[in-house]
Symmetry: C2
Subunit: 343 residues, 2 copies
Amino acid sequence: MRPADEASDPFDVLGMGNAIVDVVAHADDALLARLDLQKGAMTLVDEERSAFLYRNMPPGREVSGGSCGNTMAALAALGSRCAYVGRVRDDQLGNVFAHDIRAAGVSFECRPSAVGPATARSLIFVTPDAQRTMQTYLGACVELGPDDVDPMLAGRASITYLEGYLWDRPEAKEACRKAADLCHAAGGRLALTLSDAFCVDRWRAEFVNLVENEVDILFANESEITSLYGVSDFDTALQEVRHHVQFAALTRGAKGSVVVRGDEVHVIEAVRPTRVLDTTGAGDLYAAGFLHALTRGDDLAACGRLASVAAGAIIGQYGARAERPLVEMIAELTGQAGPRSPA
Amino acid sequence: MRPADEASDPFDVLGMGNAIVDVVAHADDALLARLDLQKGAMTLVDEERSAFLYRNMPPGREVSGGSCGNTMAALAALGSRCAYVGRVRDDQLGNVFAHDIRAAGVSFECRPSAVGPATARSLIFVTPDAQRTMQTYLGACVELGPDDVDPMLAGRASITYLEGYLWDRPEAKEACRKAADLCHAAGGRLALTLSDAFCVDRWRAEFVNLVENEVDILFANESEITSLYGVSDFDTALQEVRHHVQFAALTRGAKGSVVVRGDEVHVIEAVRPTRVLDTTGAGDLYAAGFLHALTRGDDLAACGRLASVAAGAIIGQYGARAERPLVEMIAELTGQAGPRSPA
């Protein structure tokens, strides 16, 4: 954890996303059915629906979340220098989010909103099959806009990483466009995660345009990348995307992942913990492992391997922030001494 | 989980305690030393010290806590009918506490405070040896007083269970005395946990008087019971206490526990999960297992065994509230089908 404290220090990765506190609870399929929840998806809900669902939710635990926030916290734990941009309210859960990401070693200087909706929360129902179903109330995230993107910050990062979820709010999307322009103007690389197949469905044309013209590093799972190109099979989507971005890292759950740079393709095995408890954050930690290896100069296959083992480490616990030092969790999973050279 | 919803339904156990949200973080001994924390103890801190410690704490996760709250949530998960009395503020963490205990199936009707200090939080530093060091800011707990003890509620429980931590506040102590009187007037049994050796040290004379004259069921660990009687060895304390209470359940960590009723003494083995991660809540869950078995009429040895296995289940995870259904966790630990007859 080496935060870049000086105003002139460079960052390896600047991330921007929805700043959310997760409420993680164990639930069964019957409860999902009774509450009419779409299993495996991230669904946006309003304050009233969120309150209703919470009243019907089993006991939970609060863990800082947000896809990009999870990735930044993991990147910092691996040793990358990171900064995060996202909006919370000045309430208890906002304090929790800010504390957790800073304590993880990530620079987080966004001022919390003094008025408006409460800090965002995502109710996450984890079923015994380790699948997670997310019901997200964006709350204070709706305050995120272009003014939150500080040119001094955005020009200091080697990679600027955006989450697709931000496309659901026009002002957040504008913030992304500003960050992308600043990134490229400063010679940095733009990374994007497609976040969610339904989110891709909502903004397909914009995402295709973005991927074809601006994105250098793309993260997507199988349903997201096939949704992006409106195709039914993974290979077709793979052949399409490799012409448009410098790096693509495509995850396929238990089937592992495929990392691509032009003609160079590596199939990466999934790494599984002894017991898979909660798949929340698997994609977020995958991105962290990949980006950490990439910024330190690893070859493509090594980037995919660290990504895979970081994802494997997080799914052996509840929640997407490591409950023990991530480097230790990775070392235990690979039986090796550290994250530098996982199996 | 069968909450006693009707105003006339009896409760198996009514619990009263400090209503606290835990902030659980992984820490090393060097951090404890740097922050001057007394390892293994529960230390009361003021708001300023709590804020200072939080700023220096690693990333955490928020889990409802409070010793008695943990016991009630576990009792309800095992199938006992429970009610809880404790004070939170009407803030986000207060909502979290109230949600979690109700969602666990515990009746909780205390109105949150609309003014005054925020909901209590306990910063829990968990070291790699699974030991927990607690720094508690009592916040809204200081509002708990005799008026919170509803005679209609206190007269409906077979057992009234108090936590020794309450002795640290005069008004809470008065609430305990009122609950004890109501309990005995209604023919119920009074249970007490001594909570913490330093707490016993602060209130020794009062606790001795209480144990000798009012308590029917006493829970204590080795350091608490020896502190109570000012003796250096466990056996001397055991011989002393068995004359004063109907039941004593004395825990000794990895050495197991001893349960006593007059001349009847059973030595109970500790039950250990595959990996001990966090001993927070071990005593709380021990009390839950014991009281659940007692109220359903199990013999003394069986009470001790369910206590031991409930404690074993909780120390394989972080935090004192079960992150999966407690009955399942117990069944896995004992290799049997449910909590009724653990090994």
